[in-house]
Amino acid sequence: MDLGVKPVSFTSSSASWKSADGVPDQFPAGLRVLVVDDDPTCLRILEKMLKNCLYEVTTCNRAEVALKFLRDNKNGYDIVISDVHMPDMDGFKLLEHVGLEMDLPVIMMSADDSKNVVMKGVTHGACDYLIKPVRMEALKNIWQHVVRKKKHEWKEKDFEQSGSVDEVERQHKPPEDVDYSSSANEGNWKNSKKRKDEEDEAEERDDSSTLKKPRVVWSVELHQQFVTAVNQLGIDKAVPKKILELMNVPGLTRENVASHLQKYRLYLRRLSGVSQHQNGLGSSFMGPPDAPFGPMSSLSGVDLQALAASGQLPPQSLATIQAAALGRAATKSAIPVPLIDQRNIFSFENPKLRFLDGQQQQNNNSKQVSLLHGIPTNMDSKQLATLHQSAQSFGSMNMHVHSQASQSNSLLTQMVQPPSRAQILNEINGSHALNLPSSAGQPVLSQAVPNAVLGQNGIENVRRPAFTSVSQPSTVVDFSRSQSTEFPENSFSLVSNSGISNLTSKLQDEVNSEMKASRGFVPNYDVFNDINQNRTQDWRLQDVRSTFEAQQHSNGRGSLDVSSSVLIQQQFSSNQKSGQNRIPPVRKAAFSVADGLGNTSNIGQQLSSSLVDNPSRIKAERLPDMGFQNGLFSEHFGQEDLMTAILKQQQGGMEPIENEFGFDGYHLDNLPV
């Protein structure tokens, strides 16, 4: 796909990225990408490819370093690309961290294309999975993940500002934009259905200012009519069209009914599974003696969906309830549904609030804390974190909630959830030793979320932040704890000798030091001298390749392989001080001028121009002016001789002509005529 990227300088600030509709003109140029891969070859290739896409690239070869970069520069990157298999940290772990802490889109890469690994990427929340070797085409389009995510965030922020229920409900809109992969059938993806429900609700509920249709409020009466119609038809046979007919409500559309039906079905299904769990919980919550609520058990179950559908319960909170209930992985059925009189639920407002009060008193803080997950006031991830942190001020939250009738409902419904949710979470995530009541919900939740199948990329991006960030404080700790214990296991098992550890540590150094500059500097083959980095020396010492002997750094001489003698780069690199000078006098375009080597590129150009302008004056002695070591050009040999020798070598075997030519620069005086 042709992005039509304009070759504009990619120094767009992050601010421009976050503008309303997100996208500045030179987009996607300037996209700030962080690439993490322990393989230096792949890393280099990726870097070049990304640069060719006009992205701003930062590379690192260790996950810890990557995390450090990300943490130190919270808004410094737009997207992360990471290899799956890394010595210091599993790529999926990094993925989780990034999702939790920075909430950036992460693309996973691997040479492994087996389904389970790809699935793992998906479940951990990767927004894409690339198979190595990565092609340019695959990288060109990564910007879409950034836009998608930003679109979400933007909309969420927009919603917060408005602060109305409608806005809140509208927050669910983004998912539909992002729902490009309907993962309804994926393994653990029960959410997806809920998502669709929410989306539908959002569509229905949305304010006229944003939406096409007027909001349908499923009032008690309306819902009763609906239920009646459904029962009449039989739940299995109830189709929206018929229900609509039976209900005979003017202005109600088939779509309204359809989505409501969906939710109702889900609710019923959940009820049947939940009944065991619930009873104890439900009753404890159902205590409130509020008259308006009437007998709790008058209805066999609360239609959570109905609640949501009724408009009293913002779709978003429904989503959060569903999602929060660990939704993803677990157990729709495990979500406790309060046994509240359905009718009563619909008669909102004050009675509800009172009910909530009662509920609150019954719940301990720990449970309330987890309720905050669902508080729809702030669906923004950061907001949720704030909510989490303000758990103590739940009362104030409640006050806030009171002001919004619909939200009180969500609190209501959510309040009953946490305990079982926490239980479920704990059960599900037995491996996570997070049994603190107050934190149980969140950390487990957040871990469950990434571990569960976070199938749909776009949706996930919306959901995940909502939950993972809330648990940020504790989870980060947990992760790091678990990480530290895992490190020994994950440590590069290949590091079996000092050479390799030198290699990895030096590679790290390389990453840190060389990331910016000296790109043009090319390490030689094992055989050839590579003086630019000492580590190569280490490697070579241990390199026992029969064909390619280890070379001595110092003398800069070529290997037995004659062809090496011809490579000017060898000579230069062997004589370089900084490792950045790579301008053989005779090469013009062929000179490898590194990106950051402005100086040498000038030199190269000087050389080229001087070659052209004044060939007769080009002598070896001129070159030292450029700062190259004198020895570089001290030897003279005929161009002709060189060519002949090389050709001979090409045709024949390996002739020891290295002595003839050495590794020094060409002497241009004897140009063949």
Binding site: M49, M136, R545, L611, V673
Partner: protein, 157 residues
């Protein structure tokens, strides 16, 4: 000295590398990445690969020597090596790596040993071929530069 001859030679070598299955599309991707700022990108990457990949070979040898039946580890190392090799478009080498991994999966030590020799062989052969190729490539450039200089020389004198 015929520059055309050199160029022709370079082109033939390149074609042979592809025709004989040493290189695949990924190499083309690398070539596409070359530009004025990075005129020797392919060579640079190949060199980087060869200086890095030695450790994989080494590690497999060590493992075969010390923990010969640690197939998981062998497979793991080979997986990384394969990933690296595939990134420069080393087709034949990649095939041998896959074969090695197959033997690892079924726990066939003999098969692993045999295939590993193939891997080493392919690794070395490709290295030589690429080195030769780059040299000729370089010569073409050298020749072109020299040629230009000669021309100018004659023009100015």
């Amino acid at each position: 000295m015929e520059g055309h001859q050199l160029q022709h030679q370079a082109a033939c070598m390149r074609k042979a590398l592809f025709d004989q299955g040493y290189l695949d599309d990924q190499f083309l991707q690398l070539e596409d990445l070359e530009d004025e700022a990075n005129p020797n990108f392919v060579e640079e990457v190949v060199k980087l690969y060869y200086s890095d990949s030695a450790r994989f070979i080494r590690n497999i040898e060590l493992t075969l020597d010390k923990n010969p039946f640690d197939f998981e580890k062998l497979d793991d190392i080979m997986h990384q090596f394969k990933g690296s090799s595939s990134s420069i478009g080393a087709k034949k080498l990649k095939t041998e790596c896959t074969q090695f991994q197959e033997y690892c999966k079924i726990g066939n030590f003999e098969g692993c040993m045999r295939t590993f020799q193939e891997v080493k062989q392919e690794h070395a052969v490709l290295k030589k071929k690429l080195e030769s190729y780059f040299q000729v490539f370089l010569l073409v450039h050298v020749y072109n530069c020299v040629y230009v200089c000669v021309d100018v020389h004659f023009v100015t004198n």
